[in-house]
């Protein structure tokens, strides 16, 4: 069993709509920025977890 990814504890409301870089094991927030390339540049690390901080809302694809 692959356990749940542990990034949630590092993300805050201030990260909504920002890009973040985290350590590989989700222990540490490494960088926050407006773009993916900005956070990669800030960390300078060869291997990082990256993601866009999503708004604190539900998600559903729309249909019509």
């Amino acid at each position: 069993m692959v356990e749940r990814l542990g990034y949630t504890k590092l993300l805050k409301k201030s990260h909504e709509n920002k890009w973040v870089a985290l350590s590989l094991g989700y222990e540490k927030l490494l960088a926050v920025g407006e773009t993916l390339s900005e956070v990669l540049k800030k960390t300078g690390k060869e291997e990082v977890v990256v993601m866009q901080g999503m708004p604190n809302t539900g998600y559903a694809p729309t249909m019509r």
Binding site: L5, N17, L36, E46, A60, P61
Partner: protein, 139 residues
């Protein structure tokens, strides 16, 4: 292989944290760095959708890509750019190249849609058990 649903920061109607079926993916950038985005396994998406900012890191020239209109991720239809995307879940250790629409949207990071990935794998959602299972399709 079974995976646990991952907590989000969002609550359901009862105030409990929502959980989603997400995978840690491995991507190799054009600069030969390894980055690990998180992909939502989305059976409701026809195609994989990827934030356009990954295109640059993968060395794609968006100006040369074919446009494809998609709906469901914004008001009306949204222009996306069609290319491929290598889906390599870290724990599965194998890569599937799928068609993907790159989109400039704050609502999309990586959404793993049906074409390509759901053809290559049998995916069983067991939300009632807080797990989902991915196995290679025998087709």
């Amino acid at each position: 292989m079974k995976f646990r649903y991952t907590n989000t920061l969002t609550s359901d109607t009862k105030g409990r944290l929502l959980k989603r079926p997400v995978l840690k993916l491995e991507l190799t950038t054009v600069g030969d760095r390894k980055i690990y985005p998180v992909g939502l396994v989305d059976s409701g998406a026809d195609l994989t959708l990827v934030n356009i900012q990954y295109a640059k890191e993968l060395g794609l020239d968006v100006a040369k890509l074919k446009e494809k209109s998609m709906r469901g991720i914004g008001e009306g239809t949204v222009t996306t750019f069609l290319a491929t995307f290598p889906i390599k879940p870290v724990e599965l250790g194998e890569e599937v190249i799928v068609p993907a629409c790159y989109v400039d949207s704050r609502n999309v990071d990586v959404l793993i849609g049906q074409e390509g990935f759901f053809d290559a794998y049998k995916i069983k959602f067991e939300k009632d058990h807080d797990t989902f299972e991915i196995t290679r399709s025998k087709k």
